[in-house]
Structures are given as C-alpha cells and as structure tokens.
C-alpha cells in the first residue's frame, strides 16, 4: 500500500471536510432553541424535532417517499435485470436503440420530464395517482440500475453458467442459482442508488405530485418557500440519522462489502 504524501493527505482532508461540513452544521442547527437557523450557542433543544412530529403532513410525506422509493427501485430492478441480460448477451435489431432508450432519462433534464409528465397525466386523467407517480420515478431511476447490472454482467465469467448448464440445470435454474447471485453486487448497488435517487428526487416530483401523493422533498420545498425556520434542519438531521442507522444495520446483517463490492 502506497503512503500518501502531505499534499495528498491535505487534499483528502479538504474533500472529506467539504462533504461532511454541511451535514455537521445542519445537524447542529437542528438542536437550536432559537426561531432562526442559528448554531446553538447557549443550550440544546429538541423543540424543532417536536415540531416535525406536530406536522402530520411531514410524516405522511415521509411515508409516501419511502413507499415510492422502495417500489420504484424494486420495479426498476425487475426491468433492468432482464433488459441488461438481453443487451449484454444478444445481438438483435434495435439493441442499441433499446440501450439508448433505457439510458435517455439520464440525459433529459428532470424539469422537462416533469412538465411532460404533468401534461401526460392531465391528458390521461392520472393526476394525483400514486401508481403513475411511481412509474415516472421508475423511468428516471432505471438507467442507474441498468448501468450497474450491465457492468456486473460484463465482468461475469460465463463459464460458471455453462458449468451449471452441463451439470443438468435448466436455463431458469442457472439464472436463479448462478447468474443472479454472481451479479448480486450490481443488482443491490443499483437498487440502493435507485432508492436514493427516487427518495430525494425533487425537480420532477414537484410537477407530478398532488396533495395526496406529496413526497418528502416536495413537502420540504413547499415548507421552505413559505417560512424558513430550524424545523427544516431537524427534518434533515432525522434523515441523516435514519440513513446512518440503515447503513449500519445493512452492514451488520448482510455486510455492505459483500453486497456492493462482491465476494472476491
């Protein structure tokens, strides 16, 4: 292992500092007893955390976001794995077009997608529908999953599948017992990135959510446009804490290395 020089160490420290500093600040601000976004100087208070739970619309929005992200990430995995297999393994007419189509949501600004979906949902009478909101999220998160699945497939030793086949496994058994476990890091990594992207997607969601399906980022955005108080910081701090706990639990139960990096 190569040692880092002093300049490299300083650089790393700065990068980590810049990434972490806002998170630390927002967490500290959440504990302020004041009415403005200030660092707590004299005492710590949980008043703004209480305020969050006195706003049931935030709790509902959180629930909406959680469901939305879970379903959207899972659906996108269900689409991206077969699509990835087809694109990786077969040469068929329209293969490049299909690949391009699946990845295009990455290129189109979410603002444009938002307006387009708003118009489409109005036309088909789907405004306010959780199902259609979910589908719109599936469209924007699938490219991430597909990319990771394709990367995992390209690094896969096909002879393991051939070995399973010659040992008497059917094609589906090979897929279930060999292919999927071997590309699991790509699939689970893709799911996680899809979940996160869906969970904090704001730009498009502003256009396609309705009062009944409002997501947490949209809720926060609407709140912040009306008033700026430390409750936003409290919501953020809760999110950070929740994510951290989820990561620790995942790591303890499955091992994040195993899921995201794979067994080597």
């Amino acid at each position: 292992m190569q040692k880092n020089g002093p300049i490299a160490l300083l650089f790393h420290a700065l990068v980590v500092g810049f990434v972490l500093a806002p998170l630390v600040v927002i967490c500290l601000v959440a504990f302020t007893p004041e009415n403005t976004l200030t660092m707590p100087t004299t005492e710590f208070s949980l008043r703004w955390f209480r305020a969050v739970f006195e706003h049931p619309d935030f709790v509902t929005a959180f629930g909406n976001s959680l469901w939305l992200a879970t379903i959207a990430a899972s659906l996108s995995v269900a689409i991206a794995v077969p699509a990835g297999l087809a694109i990786d393994r077969y040469r068929f007419p329209g293969r490049d077009a299909l690949n391009g189509l699946f990845l295009s949501p990455l290129i189109i600004p979410h603002l444009v997608l938002g307006v387009a979906f708003l118009r489409l949902f109005a036309l088909i009478g789907a405004t306010g529908s959780f199902l259609w909101l979910t589908l719109s999220h599936v469209i924007i998160v699938t490219p991430y999953v597909l990319r990771l699945v394709l990367a995992a497939l390209s690094g896969l030793d096909r002879s393991a599948e051939q070995a399973a086949l010659t040992l008497g496994a059917s094609r589906f058994t090979v897929f279930r017992r060999v292919t999927v476990p071997m590309i699991l890091p790509g699939i689970s990594g893709g799911w996680l990135i899809a979940f996160i992207n869906s969970f904090d997607e704001l730009t498009m969601s502003i256009f396609v959510t309705s009062p009944a399906t409002v997501t947490l980022p949209v809720r926060m955005y609407m709140y912040a446009t009306e008033s700026i108080d430390p409750m936003m910081a409290a919501v953020s701090a809760l999110m950070i804490a929740l994510t951290a706990v989820a990561m620790v639990v995942l790591d303890r139960v499955f091992g994040l290395d195993k899921i995201l990096v794979g067994e080597k």
Binding site: S159, A163, T166, S170, R177
Partner: protein
C-alpha cells in the same frame, strides 16, 4: 465402434471454418488428448461434444445414441473449464453437490457422495471453504470433483492445468491420471502442452488448422510424427534440408546416413532426427564434425547446439555426472542411421 464418436463434425463461424470434417472414435475408459496450438479448433471441438457450441455439420454419438442436437443439460457430461468456473457464492461442498441437486438426489445420499468425491481429490477438510479461500490447485480439484460426482459417461477437460505453476502442473498431471484410472471415466482433454498430452494420455489427437492430422499413442506420435508441424510441435526435432543421394541425405559437403527409404535420387528431402538420438563424441570420431555453439543445462540433460556443415544441430546429452564439451570446443556427432528419418518435399506440401 467407439463409445464417443465424432463423424464428419465441422464448425463454421461467420464463414470461417474453425473445425473441418473431424472424425474420432474414443473407446470406453480411454484418456484422449486434443493437442494443438491456440486457434487450431481443439476447444471448439470440446465445446461441441459438451453441447455448448452447435456443430455446423456432422454427428456426435455417445454410446450409439445421437446427441448432436441434445441440450448440454441433458447430455450429463462432466466438464472442467480452464478457469475452473466454480460458483463463487457456494462452498466447496455446495459446488460439488450442485449436479446431484439438479438430479434430485436425496439429501443424505448427496452428502455421502460429495464426501466420497472430496476424499478422492484430497479435499475432505475443505468442504466448508469458499472457492476464493482455496489455492489454484485446490480449485482445480474441486472442479474435477464437481464434474465427476455426477458419474458422467465422459469427462471433458479444457486446458485443466494451464493456470497452475510448473511444479503443481506436474503433480496434477499424475493426480489427474490417478483419478481417471480410479474412476475409469472416458476422458477427453484439450491442451496446448505437448509434454502434458504425451504423459497422461492413452492416445493423442493433434489438431492443425481445424483438422485432426494425427491420432496415435504418445510414443508413436513422438517417433513417427505424421506432419512437419507435429515433428517440431511435439518434442524437439532437428530438421535438415538436403538432397537424397545413394541412401543418404547430402547437405553441401556433409553426408547424413539415414534409414533406407524408397525415394528417387536427386529428390529434395528433409532429414529428421531427435536431439536425444544423437550422441556426442570426441572430435574426429562419429559421422559429422562440428563445434559447440551454445550449451544449456536442463538438470536431467544438457542441450547443446552444434554448428556443423549441415547447419546448427541440437544434441541432447544425458547428465551422467560428467560435463560435456564447452562452447567453442570441436566435437563429433554420431547416430544410428535407422533413427534418422527422411521426409520428401511432397510430404511437406501435403
């Protein structure tokens, strides 16, 4: 009639013939090697037998049954891949057990057979390890166990030893032969290593440019190579171009005495003799005089290159405890005429 037969099997990839009209009959219990340089079609042939590649033409029969169109998961053959192709997410025991599971063998019997097989390949105490925790040689043996546990009628080995270091490769050659003898499974091995093919096979099939050019026992293959390619690919061979004259090969002023051959005088020929069939003797003695150009010590023997009037000739000198002539020293070379074979130019063209 062989146990496994290939009848006129060929494979064309995008207009390019890779395997051309291959015929082979393998007897039950036989160990046959497909030997050739990379790109000669040997692996494609193996994959066609396995059912992983569909032949463009010809028939493959197993025990009289036509399996040409049969899916690989119906053939029941055991295959060991070059990369071993172990399942990384399963333990050694689970890897070996996989084929039995696919055959719905009950749990208790499965465990018993897996244990037996792991014992056979000396890995009994590794059952709960994952492939990544094993050395190359151990992975190799897991792959063999996994292929053999389903008691396949034919075991196919694709360059099974090429990823091992030299010492281990030699050990595994004996190991492979031991296991094969013990289990008695008909085995076909693909290899580009001629020493490996010669040492463990009952018969060796040499492939060149998609064709099988010689099918013979290792000793015969070595002593009577059918093509110029085989003569140099299998072992070392001195090839000396000359002219046939009075039962000898004439190269400039040098006259090489050979085995008798029915060739018209004046024909352009190539004299063939293995380095170990040549004897080094004192200067002035022997049939050919020369000077040592280079000398390599190879443990069991020395390999000398001797500059003669007939060109540079390789001579293998057994290590008897005495150092042979040094570089630059004059020497004589002798041989028994019957060991010098002659090949005509027309044979070379064919």
């Amino acid at each position: 009639m062989g146990f496994l037969t290939l009848e006129g099997v060929s494979k064309v990839y995008g207009g390019v013939p890779v395997v051309r009209d291959v015929n082979l009959a393998v007897a039950k219990g036989e160990f046959v090697s497909l030997l050739g340089p990379s790109g000669c079609g040997k692996t494609t042939t193996l994959q066609m037998i396995a059912g992983l590649v569909e032949p463009s033409g010809g028939r493959i029969r197993l025990d009289g049954r036509d399996i040409t169109q049969e899916k690989p998961n119906r053939r029941g053959l055991g295959i060991v891949f070059q990369s071993y192709a172990l399942f990384p997410h399963m333990t050694v025991a689970e890897n070996v057990s996989f084929g039995l599971e696919m055959r719905n063998v009950p749990r208790a019997e499965r465990d018993k057979r897996v244990a037996e097989m792991l014992g056979l390949v000396h890995l009994a105490d590794m059952a709960d390890r994952y492939p990544r925790q094993l050395s190359g040689g151990q992975r190799q043996r897991v792959a063999i166990a996994r292929a053999l546990v389903i008691t396949p009628p034919v075991l196919l080995l694709d360059e099974p030893l090429s990823n091992l270091d030299a010492k281990l490769r030699e050990e595994m050659q004996f190991e492979l032969r031991r296991i094969q003898r013990r289990v008695g499974t008909t085995t076909i091995m693909v290899t580009h290593d001629q020493a490996e093919a010669l040492s463990i096979s009952d018969r060796v099939v040499v492939m060149e440019g998609g064709r099988m050019t010689q099918i013979d026992a290792p000793y015969r293959l070595y002593e009577q190579p059918a093509t110029p390619f085989i003569s140099t690919f299998v072992g070392k061979m001195n090839r000396i171009a000359g002219v046939w004259r009075d039962g000898t090969v004439t190269v400039g002023n040098a006259i090489l005495e050979s085995a008798p051959a029915d060739i018209a005088p004046g024909t352009a020929v190539t004299a063939l003799i293995r380095p170990e069939k040549l004897r080094l003797c004192r200067p002035g003695e022997g049939r050919l005089a020369g000077q040592v150009a280079s000398r390599f010590f190879l443990g069991g023997h020395w390999l000398l290159t001797v500059a003669t009037e007939a060109g540079e000739i390789m001579v293998s000198v057994p290590n008897t405890g005495e150092e042979p002539a040094r570089e630059g020293e004059p020497v004589g070379i002798d041989w028994t005429p019957a060991t010098l074979r002659v090949e005509t130019a027309s044979e070379v063209a064919a």
